[in-house]
Symmetry: C2
Subunit: 336 residues, 2 copies
Amino acid sequence: MRHRRPTIEDVAREAGVSRATASRAMNNLPGASTATRARVARAAGELGYRPDPAARALASGRRTAVDLLVVNYDPDLVAIGGHPYFGRVIAGMTTALDGTDVHLRVHVTPLDRAAATVDSVARETTVGAVLVNVTPDLAERFRRLCPQVVSLNTPAPPVPLVASENTAGAYTALAHLHRIGRRRIAAIHGPAVNACATSRRAGHLGLVADAGLPDLADRGEFTREGGYRAAARLLALHPDLDGLFVASDLMAAGAVQALTAAGRRIPDDVAVVGFDDSIAAICSNPPLSTMRLPVEEMAATATRALLDGDLAPGWLSGFPVGLVTRRSTDPAAALC
Amino acid sequence: MRHRRPTIEDVAREAGVSRATASRAMNNLPGASTATRARVARAAGELGYRPDPAARALASGRRTAVDLLVVNYDPDLVAIGGHPYFGRVIAGMTTALDGTDVHLRVHVTPLDRAAATVDSVARETTVGAVLVNVTPDLAERFRRLCPQVVSLNTPAPPVPLVASENTAGAYTALAHLHRIGRRRIAAIHGPAVNACATSRRAGHLGLVADAGLPDLADRGEFTREGGYRAAARLLALHPDLDGLFVASDLMAAGAVQALTAAGRRIPDDVAVVGFDDSIAAICSNPPLSTMRLPVEEMAATATRALLDGDLAPGWLSGFPVGLVTRRSTDPAAALC
DNA sequence: TTGAAAGCGCTACCAA
DNA sequence: TTGGTAGCGCTTTCAA
């Protein structure tokens, strides 16, 4: 027969103490003699006692979960699995949660069921939630149900936001290409509907204006294929291209493949700068110079804000992005 | 002043019904008139009522969380963020959880605190846990505390296991190189302590024996740098190398960089096969032929086993890995 | 240092 | 279709 899972009552009985004492002993709170603690610990061990988290949370009033909600736009792409940000967001969040007894819950939802997921997560969250890839309207919907929420890199005023300085970052990337002497610089941007893409595009236009360069640009989804195709098109239109800014490393990896396939040497013929400093940047060949997006730090900041509970509508935290130089713009850069 | 968070009691009062009726109405259980449901819903909306998950779990007895526990070996590497498996594991688990009301909790721990984390997760888990990168002794420790547990790709008998057929996969990869005419084939393996690495090494030795090839091999950590350095060493020792099997895509991307830096054309001079079919494979230049590891399916299977509760000591589920051919072995492969 | 007992907020049973 | 109420397993006063 299957035994009922042991409760603290069982432990207390086995140890010959009261429930209260057993609780104190196991949570090493003051008010239990050393001998008692030992007896309780032994009893718990023998019975294989595991406290019920729900009962504990209910009785203590401690809230113990931060939620991460990610909208997965392209199920075919297994976007989450392939998404270079995703793991970094979790790494940052777990860092911030380290040492607390707060857990991280992860929710992934396809776009067509995002509204329902927003509702259920907002209802069930305790400490609060971090939103990734959630559209502004849904983010606001979440905030109305539960104000303890932060959007990561997707502005959705007045939803609290942690964002990288994409416009400045793109400007820096292009200025780098300009500084190393490139004058026929093109850009590959992300989808027009994406806020990050739009900001990076603005940075590009900024340098185009300041340096008096032609505005050579194409677009792609934030995928390798998108980058490959856009690079191929740009090359066909502007064969004398000598610099390329690509608004994501994944696209940049594709662009590098297209450039190589077209016989261009990198960086000698065309210098390339990506964006994100994701795993795609170091797996590319040559490795990509890129703008480092401090995803872990951003996610940690968002999480800490939730833990501190100091989020108000309009709350904002911006992060600078810095240039990382590798072989795709610097022939002298070390490969290892 | 701050109001106390509204409880179901408040909703019931506001709607002029009993707590029981309010509960039935909001959980759309039978036994509440349409009119009552509407009144309750309105009251809940007005008060901004969000049910307390802990109280609900305690009262209903429903257990609602699956845990994912990952040991992060190299904090400097931000291994989780850069770990190509990690996102895919989560993608697979969320797929399996889709449609249930079970949540996914994620725990990441450095190796030096892994034991403590194992204890706390095992104590708090409800449905069960999936273990990634957890050493056999710790996995077994977990199982003794909580038998509802599956190890992913790390054998730790008698802990239930979901694993890929690494030995067969490596053999297939090497057979592919042999079939396309390569005879000076070398291998780059992972760390000797890693079970996957050991199995893949066995596959390599299998083909070496069957095809009568020399056993050319080196090792590296499962990192880009490890692959780069190992390839450079192999090239120095065996300049006539014409095929290379690399036990992970991340290492393979590094190896490709080293080969290119040494002036070798891929695949013309050296054909390369990686392992995993991770994002590293498609970001490499040229893109890598590789053994597809069905991480999502494996994670989903592990999760379903937990949900079904049919795990017994020694439980095992094996997954075949299949060859994916790309430009690093096939000059005719499409790039886009 | 200990025990008794009052809840935590909710669900689910039973009776009306 | 409703309301009353007994718990779920634990923490945390308050007294002893």
